[in-house]
């Protein structure tokens, strides 16, 4: 019975995510006005910002899950870290693709070695490395500890990488919403902020939906393995 209840709750979460993303898209494509300088291209921001924020959230969860696993040795913490890493890679890749699509008409190039772009690409490399490391170690407990260590040092490295690529070069859009000189509601059209907020909520819901699915998948794999061992014995 508990399983059915969980399934139902997940269904609700999925439906909510779908509705929120749909409303967010409607708001950002139809209701929000086009940007004064960039025109309609700017609308990709409503996806771009939520994607990268959820990616960072993901890597934070990898860090938490890894730390908890090394401390308590609970399988579920490792599963959390692993699931979060996979979805984090997905959202980071999405961010880069969206950024490219926006960069081509705005900057004239698909890719440029700007600080934030570079940082995002390095994040992608680190966490793809994390997933490769996991897949190349046979023994599951060893893979989990090794990955947990990488999950921790990778996350601790982010501020250092951030600083170094920033000093190296900066060309990205200066932050247009969280500006130091003006409050967000003074320089951004309210409909734009609403669209962004709804998109963000939608992405968060979608993120937790995907995470719960991925987590359940891991649990099921574990169950299958346990049953096979039982039958073998």
């Amino acid at each position: 019975m508990a399983q059915v209840a969980i399934k139902k709750r997940k269904g609700i979460l999925g439906a909510l995510a779908f509705v929120a993303v749909a409303i967010g898209l409607f708001w950002s494509l139809v209701i929000a006005p086009p940007d004064a300088y960039q025109g309609d291209v700017q609308r990709i921001m409503y996806l771009h910002l939520p994607s990268i924020l959820t990616a960072y959230l993901s890597y934070f969860l990898v860090f938490i899950g890894s730390g908890m696993y090394l401390w308590k040795r609970e399988k579920r913490d490792d599963l959390l870290a692993h699931s979060a890493a996979e979805i984090g890679v997905l959202f980071t890749a999405l961010t880069i693709i969206e950024g490219s699509i926006w960069g081509r008409p705005t900057w004239g190039v698909w890719w440029t070695w700007d600080a934030r772009l570079t940082l995002t690409a390095i994040l992608l490399l680190i966490y793809v490395g994390y997933l490769m490391l996991r897949s190349l170690i046979e023994d599951e407990n060893r893979a989990a500890s090794a990955a947990a260590v990488l999950g921790i040092i990778g996350f601790l490295d982010i501020p250092l990488i951030h600083m170094s690529v920033y000093w190296w070069r900066t060309l990205h859009q200066p932050p247009s919403i969280l500006r130091p000189d003006k409050a967000p509601w003074e320089n951004v059209h309210p409909a734009m902020l609403t669209a962004l907020a709804i998109s963000f909520v939608g992405f968060l819901l979608l993120y937790f939906y995907l995470l719960s699915m991925r987590y359940r998948l891991g649990e099921m794999r574990e169950e299958i393995r346990a049953r096979r061992l039982d039958r073998g014995a």
Binding site: I122, L133, L136, I152, L156, L160, M163, W168
Partner: protein, 225 residues
Amino acid sequence: MALLRESYLLLWKDLLLELRRRESLLTMFFFGTLLLFVFHFSFDLAPERVAEMAPALLWLAFLFTGTLGLAQLFQPERENHCLDALLLSPLDRGALFLAKSCLNLVLMIVVEIVVIPLFWILFNLRSWNLLPQLFLVTLLGTIGFCVLGTITSAITLRARARELLLPLVLFPLMIPVILATIRCMENVLRTGEFGDAIPWLRLLLSFDVIFLTVGVLIFDRVIEN
């Protein structure tokens, strides 16, 4: 203090082994020199551009030779179950981490002490008076490389294709060190002093301190029987 003493003993054991076999040191040294030749032929630089490229070329050479050393780092322990024996002994695992980091550090520094002047000779550079500053930057960068390299080499120890996996995991994490050392050395070569590069030095130092601490604390979770 016990930690330092244990690390010293372990390091001494590894250095002794290395002195008898001379495997890692010779291969690393040879590879480093070889890379200078390869770089020379591939870039065919005009003399006035060499100083601009020198930091990047040197650091590429150090990264590659260092990776070669890291791949061999736990080799003695892999033979005859020595690792299990080490882990059974009442040693602090942090000491094992410090010893292995220092071993790779010693090997890399020996290589660097030869390769940097060799670079100056082969590429006809005149700025010999700047070498002490360049060595300082290289030392800080190499410490960061060895510390993080030892952690990553330990976590890839039981992986399939670990020699290939090691750089894939390590290099993205090394980006702050690569950027900081190269910018620092460029600045020194251009202006003759650290000047604007001081923040980079601080970044290098924080990198070293952070991952040294993390390594000592976390290493007993990294290496398990």
